[in-house]
Amino acid sequence: MMNLSVFFMFIGFIALSLSMKRHFKQCYPQMRMPSLKLLFVFRVGGYTSLIISLYLCIIAQAFGLGLVLWFGLLTLVALLQSLLLTYKPQWVIPVGFMNFIYIFCYTSINLPS
């Protein structure tokens, strides 16, 4: 459950950075500027993903510990994302997809049981 939480967190931060014009340009240099509506969708999706990760963190641990752990991981993942955006912006989208694939595989293996 914890690792799932981290992956949701990562996706959340990637979506949030895509919702900012500056970072969107970094990740998609060739693309035309997206509509404000799309940016808004990214933002909502990002926050939702972060909330899901918080939920997962809390049900994986006790409430207090889950909260502390979530904040700690939040810092680390956000740092990772800002380093990625600074030095390897072209990796952001592939990393995001890898996260999605991981979550998909993990849930499809574990949830139905």
Partner: protein, 555 residues
């Protein structure tokens, strides 16, 4: 009107942020670095006591207790209190403690003695004296060389300034969310500001929590007024207050003075294991030993959660259970205080969370460091435009190197001293710490004394290189002087000890990388200067002025 007022407000907050931060930056940096190391105090202490017998998992707690009890019966048969600490979780050794009455100039004085036992022979082992990780942890709030109360006041004051710095920093930061991920390297002071922002904003929950709870820790020193207002003055009333805060244990009977036969500790152990399961005990002890009111105290080990740990109390004469504490019977204020202090210490953390704490703490130190560098680089840029750098700016620039890198070098020296000072040297524990502060003083003086003629950039490279070498060679020194080197720890699966050496190597790589980046910048600049000198000789003087400025952006 509102715009002007707003502008003024932000300006004044900026002023506050700069000076609240800068005045205490050195102490705060020291507190953050040593405090971060303190999250691994037990692990560091273990590394610094290489004689400690390594624990193999095939001995269970019941066997250990039998060994410990045998030793205690031999060495302290008449003692009134025995305690046994088990190697469980972060604890790495089997320790026995006992109370001994010693004759001190005709007066009988209570004294605590302790021994670490070898699990195979049951005999105590001699372990070198060392401050260990606890000394670093202790330093981060009690400093060193000055009276404790004064130190508490200083650290509390610094924490207060830190809180002011954080709040004013949040106010003056125009776009916390918009600039959340923003870091643009290679742009001098702007890059420093970006870095300062990122290091402040990302771990902001940690920064706020650690500062606020740090203040709470020392509130009994700094705010005695609050306490006396509700409990009155005088030692007795203060004690009443501490009773409310700290007493969670059941009332224990005092010794009755009637001698009685006590049962063996190991006899009730099967009952404990029945209640809690195997290998769950943190410590077990007997109080008022040899008395009819003797009782046995057992506490469970656990790091999961913010709740208190369960404990058991047995009658030591009959062996029956007197009291079982499930662990959550705290009053609301106590609960709050306990939670805040536990959050500060991270005492409940498993390995992952402990590392997160450590990294967040280092990010806090880096936040202060970048703040100090930012202050200097802003003024340096202005000075370069004018073509004149004031003495105070040059002084601060040099002080920054000695403070920021110097402390890291000093901590490496602390570890070196642990390995190189003779084991038989009686004062070695103190001299480890002396060597820490002496080497820090040398590093602070270095830019003024040894390297007065060197450019500030070169001084950075010098000290970073020294740090890289010292940290990098530490595993080698460990290999030469002890048995707990990487060759044994990696293959023996002793991850705590191996982790220490590996972490030192990582630090070494980081410092080496920064040093090489900076020296490459330095050499690039001197090439550029040489070319321009040959083409435009008439501008030599102007260019030489430009060689001086520091440029540590791509650190």
């Amino acid at each position: 009107m509102s715009i002007a007022a707003n502008g003024n407000f932000r300006q004044s907050m900026k002023w506050l942020h700069t000076w609240a931060g800068l005045t205490v930056a050195v102490v705060l940096y020291f507190m953050f670095i040593t405090g971060s190391a303190g999250y691994f105090n037990d692990e560091i202490t273990h590394w610094m006591k290489p004689e400690t017998p390594l624990i193999n998992s095939n001995i269970d707690q019941h066997d250990m207790l039998i060994i410990a009890e045998k030793r205690l019966a031999k060495v302290a048969p008449d003692s009134s209190e025995w305690w046994v600490d088990f190697p469980v979780g972060r604890s790495y050794k089997l320790n026995v403690f006992w109370k001994e009455m010693t004759n001190n100039n005709g007066k009988m004085v209570e004294e605590w003695k302790d021994e670490t036992l070898d699990l195979y022979t049951g005999e105590p082992v001699t372990i070198r004296k060392t401050g260990g990780g606890d000394a670093l942890y202790y330093m981060h709030y009690a400093l060193y060389y000055i009276p404790t109360v004064l130190a508490y006041w200083i650290t509390s004051l610094c924490a207060m300034f830190m809180l002011i710095g954080l709040i004013s920093g949040i106010v003056i930061h125009k776009q916390i969310f918009k600039d959340f991920f923003t870091f643009k390297p290679g742009k001098k002071q702007h890059s420093w500001r970006d870095m300062h922002n990122v290091l402040s904003v990302l771990p902001l929950p940690f920064h706020l929590m650690i500062t606020y709870s740090g203040l709470l820790f020392l509130m009994f020193t700094t705010m005695p007024g609050v306490l006396t207002a509700s409990y009155g003055t005088g030692e007795k009333n203060i004690d009443r207050f501490y009773d409310v805060i700290y007493s969670q244990d059941a009332e224990h009977k005092d010794a009755a003075g009637i001698p009685a036969e006590n049962i063996k500790l190991s006899r009730i152990f099967s009952d404990i294991e029945l209640r809690w399961g195997k290998d769950k005990v943190a410590y077990i002890g007997i109080e008022n030993k040899g008395d009819i009111n003797a009782h046995i105290e057992v506490a469970q080990y656990g790091y999961n959660g913010l709740e208190n740990k369960p404990s058991l109390t047995y009658n030591a004469v009959t062996g029956e259970l007197q009291h079982a504490n499930s662990g959550d019977v705290l009053s609301a204020p106590t609960q709050f205080y306990e939670t805040m202090t536990m959050l500060h210490e991270g005492s409940f953390s498993g390995p992952l969370l402990r590392w997160l704490y450590f990294v967040s703490g280092l990010m806090g130190a880096a936040m202060i460091a970048t703040g100090m560098i930012l202050w200097a680089s802003k003024r340096r840029e202005r000075a370069d435009k004018k073509g004149f750098a004031s003495n105070s700016l040059i002084m601060v620039e040099r002080l920054n190197v000695g403070t920021l890198v110097g402390l890291l070098i000093a901590i490496a020296i602390y570890f070196w001293a642990n390995r190189l000072l003779p084991v038989t040297f009686a004062e070695r524990g103190n001299w480890e710490i002396h060597s820490l502060f002496i080497s820090w003083a040398i590093m602070l003086a270095y830019p003024y004394v040894v390297a007065r003629k060197r450019s500030i950039n070169k001084i950075w490279v010098d000290q970073l290189t020294i740090a890289a070498v010292l940290y990098g060679l530490l595993p080698l020194v460990n290999f030469i002087t002890t048995d707990i080197h990487l060759g044994n720890t990696l293959f023996g699966g002793h991850w705590v000890l191996a982790g220490f050496d590996l972490t030192m190597l990582v630090f070494s790589l980081l410092f080496g990388f920064s040093a090489s980046r900076m020296s490459r910048k330095e050499s690039k600049k001197s090439v550029a200067v040489r070319v321009s000198v040959s083409t435009r000789r008439n501008k030599i003087i102007e260019i030489e002025k430009k060689v001086q400025p520091i440029d540590m952006i791509n650190l």
